[in-house]
Symmetry: C2
Subunit: 114 residues, 2 copies
DNA sequence: ACGTTTTATCGTATATCGACGATAAACGAT
DNA sequence: ATCGTTTATCGTCGATATACGATAAAACGT
């Protein structure tokens, strides 16, 4: 079998979520529930250019949409993508839960490696 | 505000999922529902050392547990962590869904960048 | 004891990420 | 037309990720 979407797509989405700043940006976008532009720079302690980069990553991952026609950009969540991501992620993790069994000791003694 | 767990922890988990090979490894571990060792090398088209590295990433993220006492390692999913991850991720994404509004055009005209 | 098998680690090379400052482009106000 | 504001992009630098082969370590079989 294999998941509904490819693991690659799932990985791309996960990568978009793999940075605290990007999660914070998504939260901010959700709370304003409207498009904001440079307010994100006030929320996350990063340079404007860095925030712009993170926005680009999120946009390329399809999690947000935005247009930068002029000096006033407009970003907001792509709720349909978020929904899709939620479903796929839930599918994957539920699958992992249902099949997985803790056969090893859960002590995770092997950690603290280096 | 802020999520139940820190965005940093969420980001670490997401980063662990941000590679197709690691997702495939997790799926494999779930399907065997038992600890396997080098069978993963047969599943993903990667060198043994690379697979070992991915396993290390997954172990350090807490998604799998394993012990490498001898030549025969034993890995399996950490179902409690998977459950926790699923809950947190679901919480985040549901939050994004409920608050977010598609105020921008969903055309995502800004894509097609490079 | 020795060789085989299995796995982790090391070393290396390349690519990508993450951060910043500087700059360019676009619009609004004057 | 010019200035100021806002944002995207470029260039750069260090850090991390990804992949591989080679090597070391640990158990098992002979």
């Amino acid at each position: 079998m294999k998941g509904a979407v490819s693991d690659e797509r799932l990985a791309v989405w996960a990568k978009a979520l793999s940075h605290p700043a990007r999660i914070a940006i998504l939260r901010t976008l959700a709370e304003r529930s409207t498009c904001i532009c440079g307010e994100i720079v006030d929320v996350v302690p990063l340079a404007q250019s860095t925030v712009s980069q993170h926005l680009k990553v999120l946009r390329e991952a399809g999690l947000i949409v935005g247009q930068a026609d002029g000096p006033r950009s407009c970003y907001c969540l792509d709720t349909s993508s978020v929904t899709e991501l939620r479903n796929e992620l839930d599918g994957l993790l539920t699958h992992l839960e249902c099949c997985g069994e803790n056969c090893c000791s859960t002590d995770s003694k092997t950690e603290g490696g280096e």
